[in-house]
Subunit: 214 residues, 2 copies
Amino acid sequence: MRLAELSERSGVATATIKYYLREGLLPPGRRVTATQSEYGEEHLRRLRFVRALIQVGKVPVATAREVLAAVEDDSLNQHMRLGAATFALPHGPDPDEDDPATGTARREVDGLMAELGWSHGGEKYGPSPAYRMLVTAVAALTRLGYPSSARHLAPYARLAAQQAVHDLDLVETYDTPLEQAAAAVTLTVLYEPVLLSLRRLAEAEESRRRFGVE
Amino acid sequence: MRLAELSERSGVATATIKYYLREGLLPPGRRVTATQSEYGEEHLRRLRFVRALIQVGKVPVATAREVLAAVEDDSLNQHMRLGAATFALPHGPDPDEDDPATGTARREVDGLMAELGWSHGGEKYGPSPAYRMLVTAVAALTRLGYPSSARHLAPYARLAAQQAVHDLDLVETYDTPLEQAAAAVTLTVLYEPVLLSLRRLAEAEESRRRFGVE
DNA sequence: ATGCTTAGATAGTGCCACTATCCAATGGAG
DNA sequence: CTCCATTGGATAGTGGCACTATCTAAGCAT
């Protein structure tokens, strides 16, 4: 298949595919002549994955490249590989250490982690992006005076733990480490909008139940 | 308090505050002279809220304005007010109706909604943004060959319902409709990074448990 | 009275994800 | 065998967005 067909079947403009090739999100095709390359089904699949990461998962192009590299890095063991992929994911601004609310937030988060027996997720490489993201968000809530103590967060954390069990069950249905790593990234990135919208729908339902006319 | 102090106490540059005033995210201060205005604690609070929406919640400026308008629109009843606020929130690209995967996704989502007894969330105003977001995300998963049937999604939906119960419990701790609406937006927008990072931390924990070398 | 601050207007910046244009080299249609 | 559409590759341009910088006239503070 040549560029035009790849574009046709993926719904991505040829100029954009060239851009992704330049950026290293797609491997080059098999060179046939000086001006033609041949692309296979694997390119199509990869292109769809990249598109989903960028459009649905809102992952920046540069980040997508790092995530894909981590997924395919076979110098890592499986736990590290999954970690590397999720470490590269977008995670918002770092905590503002000048703000006293950050200190408060950190103590609550640390308390929560301890209560649940979770590790900070990054003894070797510093706190994980997810941990920093959590501290930032909790600090913002704290500044606004909304409840964000370990006690308030614990029920949500327990629900998250149940999500994670489902997530990893699904990952383990795949056979090869590479497929597993790809599945883990998909689960983390593409399931996020799914879970988010499910929660919003559930909130609407619950709101109708409590406040709804009708 | 004058502009400089508002900037000082919020950590937001004066130029940015002027920008927010121009964009209607902040009400103008009380005019003291032709070139001075006085701002109060309420401005500070509002500014912090706006900042949190934009920086932590990644809500575009134009969208933040709409959300704030909906929260303060007292021509709506409470359920509608909460709905209007969340309708305005960012929700990604609309489903691609040309793609057969979208049809498949829609059927699964509709089946799931029926199974749970949820309404589509928008009989009067068309499908809700959350519903469209869910269809888009499920279609993307479908195209990539990942499981996204109603059967797979149901456990996550049930967890979302539990989150929603906690969410609305918290909303109901506030007395006035306005505070409740503000709390609902905060919960939807600012809790999202919290839940997201909790899930990622839980995944890391579960991954360590299953794959981890210690 | 004089230097700092402010409101308000306008223009510029930096980043990002594309998108458009060119060129030389094919390659397939007739 | 000729000729036009397509390709890879290089480079430059676009549009959206969230600021950010500059300027001016008018106070206020000392």
